[in-house]
Point group: D4
Chain length 251, copies 8
Amino acid sequence: MRENELLALLEAVRSGEVTLEQAADCLKGELFEDLGYAKVDHHRAKRQGAAEVIFGEGKTPEQIDGIVRSMMDRGAANILITRLSQEKEAQFQVPHRYSVPARLAVANPVERPLTGAIAVVSAGTSDLPVCEEAALTAEALGSRVFRVYDAGVAGLHRLLAELETLERARCIIAVAGMEGALPSVVGGLVSCPVIAVPTSIGYGANLGGLAALLAMLNSCASGVSVVNIDNGFGAGFLAHRINQMKGLEES
Amino acid sequence: MRENELLALLEAVRSGEVTLEQAADCLKGELFEDLGYAKVDHHRAKRQGAAEVIFGEGKTPEQIDGIVRSMMDRGAANILITRLSQEKEAQFQVPHRYSVPARLAVANPVERPLTGAIAVVSAGTSDLPVCEEAALTAEALGSRVFRVYDAGVAGLHRLLAELETLERARCIIAVAGMEGALPSVVGGLVSCPVIAVPTSIGYGANLGGLAALLAMLNSCASGVSVVNIDNGFGAGFLAHRINQMKGLEES
Amino acid sequence: MRENELLALLEAVRSGEVTLEQAADCLKGELFEDLGYAKVDHHRAKRQGAAEVIFGEGKTPEQIDGIVRSMMDRGAANILITRLSQEKEAQFQVPHRYSVPARLAVANPVERPLTGAIAVVSAGTSDLPVCEEAALTAEALGSRVFRVYDAGVAGLHRLLAELETLERARCIIAVAGMEGALPSVVGGLVSCPVIAVPTSIGYGANLGGLAALLAMLNSCASGVSVVNIDNGFGAGFLAHRINQMKGLEES
Amino acid sequence: MRENELLALLEAVRSGEVTLEQAADCLKGELFEDLGYAKVDHHRAKRQGAAEVIFGEGKTPEQIDGIVRSMMDRGAANILITRLSQEKEAQFQVPHRYSVPARLAVANPVERPLTGAIAVVSAGTSDLPVCEEAALTAEALGSRVFRVYDAGVAGLHRLLAELETLERARCIIAVAGMEGALPSVVGGLVSCPVIAVPTSIGYGANLGGLAALLAMLNSCASGVSVVNIDNGFGAGFLAHRINQMKGLEES
Amino acid sequence: MRENELLALLEAVRSGEVTLEQAADCLKGELFEDLGYAKVDHHRAKRQGAAEVIFGEGKTPEQIDGIVRSMMDRGAANILITRLSQEKEAQFQVPHRYSVPARLAVANPVERPLTGAIAVVSAGTSDLPVCEEAALTAEALGSRVFRVYDAGVAGLHRLLAELETLERARCIIAVAGMEGALPSVVGGLVSCPVIAVPTSIGYGANLGGLAALLAMLNSCASGVSVVNIDNGFGAGFLAHRINQMKGLEES
Amino acid sequence: MRENELLALLEAVRSGEVTLEQAADCLKGELFEDLGYAKVDHHRAKRQGAAEVIFGEGKTPEQIDGIVRSMMDRGAANILITRLSQEKEAQFQVPHRYSVPARLAVANPVERPLTGAIAVVSAGTSDLPVCEEAALTAEALGSRVFRVYDAGVAGLHRLLAELETLERARCIIAVAGMEGALPSVVGGLVSCPVIAVPTSIGYGANLGGLAALLAMLNSCASGVSVVNIDNGFGAGFLAHRINQMKGLEES
Amino acid sequence: MRENELLALLEAVRSGEVTLEQAADCLKGELFEDLGYAKVDHHRAKRQGAAEVIFGEGKTPEQIDGIVRSMMDRGAANILITRLSQEKEAQFQVPHRYSVPARLAVANPVERPLTGAIAVVSAGTSDLPVCEEAALTAEALGSRVFRVYDAGVAGLHRLLAELETLERARCIIAVAGMEGALPSVVGGLVSCPVIAVPTSIGYGANLGGLAALLAMLNSCASGVSVVNIDNGFGAGFLAHRINQMKGLEES
Amino acid sequence: MRENELLALLEAVRSGEVTLEQAADCLKGELFEDLGYAKVDHHRAKRQGAAEVIFGEGKTPEQIDGIVRSMMDRGAANILITRLSQEKEAQFQVPHRYSVPARLAVANPVERPLTGAIAVVSAGTSDLPVCEEAALTAEALGSRVFRVYDAGVAGLHRLLAELETLERARCIIAVAGMEGALPSVVGGLVSCPVIAVPTSIGYGANLGGLAALLAMLNSCASGVSVVNIDNGFGAGFLAHRINQMKGLEES
């Protein structure tokens, strides 16, 4: 409920059209549904332009099912469930699409036109699951995605050969494990925002992805920001936001 | 040099208009100037829409002076020098503006109209130096900035009172030390990209800002990405990029 | 044995009522029972107002059984066994209640009236097991508990809608994984003691709950203290102590 | 503004006694004063029973002065300023008391009767500054404090000799650096809440207090919670809250 | 081969009794046997008073078998194999004793009188496997061991009741997980060397035993040294060395 | 494509022998093949003297198969696949050799003469898998390898007995877990480059090999450099490069 | 007060020789003196065979002076004050000896014969301050010390040349910074207890001595235990205890 | 003393030419000189082809002077002293050259021809001190050095423009702070050994150079090894060794 709606409600209170109790209920009821184990945030789509996203880890299949149905009852489509294991997915009965490598489900999927241009670039083939989580997230939200995989810095020509694609993108997601150097190199080549995603690919001093994370946070290239290790979803969501931005004159 | 320029050059090589050696010089000369201790990247403005930025730490005043003059010879204005101590600034003889708390200099400053809207929100008064580094960077690059300082989560009403300002911004920079909770709360309230900046304000288990950094990387709010601890410059630069984006139809 | 009891015993020694050896036995025997693998602390209930609590990890089912029976022989009821896996519970033959998500058993359970008011607030649904460990511990000890689950800071209205419940509590347990921001926000809203419990929910830079732990230790809100990661038991025990406090005049 | 005040205001809006704009101003104005560099939280005393506390680090003397005067204008007394260096204190012109070891100032100090009983116990003499920060905070807020210093576990009899004092306390603050064992031993002896404060006293593998912090978080004694390293203020504030609790029947 | 033996050999070289090649072989052959995957150190018993000890982790059953047999061929008895899983032990065909909790095997076991006095004290029942590794190691080497288990600092009277046993020991091994406070308390009570063994018992901020390790390294009690986490063997071996020391006059 | 090839191509463009498009294709096509999930770097052998090496972790058997076949189509032999689990190897149908402990496959193996001399020295038997990864890598690339296993510093004579072998090597790979002292001792004995490889063998404060890694990075011996924990491949590859170096006069 | 003294006191209570109050005073008074900022542990010498040692860091010169005088009043001599800066020492007026590099003072120094044999071995010259703290501590307590400095593993012959000295020692203190390899090599050569002392000498990945500390904790040599970084005092104290041990028959 | 020298000595012992005592003296005396605080390793030049290098930190000017003179007495020239502060250098009276940024002295400097080719490449201007330490070390030992400074990955063309220089080098030292990406990119371009040197340039999540160190250890490029943070000396020394290698046929 934005300011003008709130003012309208206050007006209605003043005029007696709605009672105090009705106003209170109205304010509460619109916002979320309380399932006991979860308070489903129905207000989020209005507030943030995208429905709540369900973090699949640590939830039972019953809980996930309950939350999704509560959202669908309110008309939500393309509901994202991240980090959903195949075991849980097998028990999930709501209509949905599922990506095995990305461990991502899209419940109540609805086709929509994809617009703009996001590039997802990866350093290696082993980073593919995180890339797909990012790409599928952005596509589910309505953005067009270019995939440029296995273009790590140990063979620069592979990346430079895709320079044209990178330059067409409005936002780039650069995914890398090990030393995490890719976002710095990409960041030095382009002029759009770059979202760096460290992955846990590697071993030893990789420290489960911390090495790549730290490298990316210290990137000497400007215009780069970072999300959590293996957080393809977060990168895809943010890239979509940036991709969909209106021009300065429009806003 | 973009693809079409390159093709033109190749054409000229074929037609014999330019010799092979001339072509090689042309390719090299345009790109950077080698001062021995530094290779000034003159190509960056063309490639990335903003001149090279000088990291002041670990450089002598003479080196900084040399790099700035090399850039000014090529016509660069509003040249940013970050992490410039007051001692070094006192020896710096090129015309410039300087902010003491932000330790930021803008050499060869030129007025330009500020457009769009970036909000810089801080959790506490002690975060002000990092905020100013972010705000002054974005302003030097041409973006308009709203400052909302000392609006931390221990007194939520102070933040909620500025909701309107937050909603007007095209990009928000959320700056916080200690537990770094501010970006998550801001991220849950708005629908534009949020750049989180952890600061080193705090003590003990703060670990020089690591606590805030880790918190921000784990933010449960979508649409949030993170830059290095105390990296006001990086946030300001990226926010400017996002703020200046063209609309989907324009690009 | 408190000071006056000790003085009485010394008196009896002086008067010859008890021999030196009897006094020594008396002092030792009352305090604990030595089972070889464990010294069951029978004195604790007298000293601390609650029987010893059994940490289930790293103990064999036989050891747990032995300790519980030793306590029951002394009349203990509502004996808590924490971190008890379902496999061990299946072998556990003493009468008890068991919570699967909380991995908590209450042996020799006895109904008692629940008094006062503790609120257990969680950031997400995935934090539920830790919350239940806290809530069931407090209830087993005799405190009344309000559950407010999935009220994280990314959707503040869900938390604010429960403000009344929070204000009625004499002590609040705030449970959160990921960035661990909830206790700071709760701490800024209420005037009772807040116990923060970080959980290991999250991934990557979450570092098994360390990110949330560090955030909570750095909370900018006053009146917040912290227990170990996933330590629902510790929070429930301490909250019960605070909840049961007598007023200043009574003590 | 609590619920009943809010309902009264809404009533007044309905009855036309106050205009919509007046209501909005009323809601905002009461809450805080915006000094640009700080939003002084005037609502906090009402909300939390104690005025805002000023974190002195990272603030200029002018900023501190401005914030304190804004609070005094609203009638605040006994305003705490923590981590205030002697240099800044020398420039501070508002009437105040100051403790050199604790680096704590109490501005606009007013005598008040001290009630209840908090014990501050330290492991060593070197922990004294943190102890004093805790003790002076609790006293400034109105609680009575017993000081038991240098009673570390390497000479247990020194602690046991003070058992009577510990048993009289309604809340105990246990302060220790190095291995941080004191709170566990204290926690095993008493039945009131114990707040553990790790200090940075030590060297090498002490890691600036992290060793003590981790030890305290892992305490095998029940009823212990932890605050940040060297955070005497936080412990004193929380202990005061616990000390001032009403009895179950009163609340 | 000690100095006088070496001189004798050199003498024999000079006198022509042994050829240069014989001398070289003699020097090499006596020292170790090369099995390809292992160089069995037959010289160690002479050099250090105890045969080589086999670290069972990361070795195949065949490798362990080969090493043990090589040692037995040279007459070694009571050969220790540490960290030997039950799976590997099942395939191990040399005569031996095995402790399941300690994962310790003693191959070619020979009875010998146990002398002196070592006390193994543990904080909790869950630390028992590490304690047993220490105790069985010391016993296999020939030392007498007193076991005092579950005497943690949260119930000090359990430890104080065993003070007499502690005072009879020539060396004490203090084993604790969680906050690792036990060695500091023990170290403050006795005048013999104390070897602290941190265990990985605990969770969360325990960090796999690091919390206890750091605490022990920072012990405020004098006379305490530390071995690796869960390293019962190392503690038992060192305690045996100390226990078997000759008096000042004898040496 | 090196400089002279590039100049030749430019000449051909100028003379009209090749069209612009042909030149572009030529430049791109030679460099890599894009399989979608991987861009196989066919240029690497020319650029670096060895074909691309495949990191087996995180890739599906199908992906590995595809990459290997793409390389074989271009004539590559002795293709290394590291960190290949036995499960994946069982599905791998290209002709290859496989080492179980090293988890290393050599696809399309071709015999070639082994030249020079590399010594692989290990501290313990448990380090054997990492040693073999190093040794087999160097052999697959064409270097001769001496294996000196289980020569750790706790029995120095075992190492000193092999001094002659060490002195014959042109490059030494020193492999150690636990405290990682071996490379320092080796580095102090020889005058050729020493590559230190920390292994994850150990437990507790070993931190998965970090202890050995840090020790090696701090080596007081000159001439020592370090690769990642358990990175036998990296050490073998680099040792081969050093071993194959031409003399100063030849290069 | 040991058991037999305690029994005697109880006897006296029974017989009426001493009153209950006298007994209580007796028990308390003997144990420590309370100076407010410190509880001087007069009982320690009796309990542990050595007077309390004063940690100089974090104490004011006045506090140190007060504690020392309290101990001297009870007849203590050779009182150790560790980590005493030269500034504080300059203000210290009690008769004492002081070592600048070791920052160690011995107050009220009294000559005594030195017995037994402790060897202090260092890896480098830069470790000398820590070595001297260890050596001077052991000497102040009454042990004879051999100094073997700068015998690090990068030049093994320097260490081996001192083998005879090492073999004569009853206990060895091995001091090293950087990679901390010395104790492992020493531990492999001798049969007496080895106390490893990591120092903070080094830089970068040395992490203030953590690298050496971790290496020592993971030592593959048996018979090695570890104290805190730079803790020369702790090593010297423990070595003295071991050095002074009675033989098995005597005890 | 190598094997054949040793055999000669043994022959002389057999023939009676030298007595046993003479042989012993000969073996000891040749190896090092004992100055008390240091054992100067005169044997190192023979053993390792380069004189001992003096680590300047933690040594007094007198100690450094003594060690250098002891070496010069034996004829050593070009003696390296690393990490020598300007204050100490001012007191240093032996003839020497000194570099202020590199904090490196070369005592008793002697000109010698420089051979081969080492490239020192840096990411930024601020890395210059570490680069110079590496370059000056290699030059003092006799290697020719190419300097390529400020060629970081955020402006790849600056690096690619120097490709020819990189290809001429027999060994490359790649120096970088911040994210440490340079060695991976360089490693992907060349076929000679690459030594990566992380620097402490950066801030925040740079963790004093740890971020760059970890990145380099995880490099996806083959042929890269790593030395300690800021260890220009170590890189220069090792690069010299590699640069001076003989060809396969020569050795």
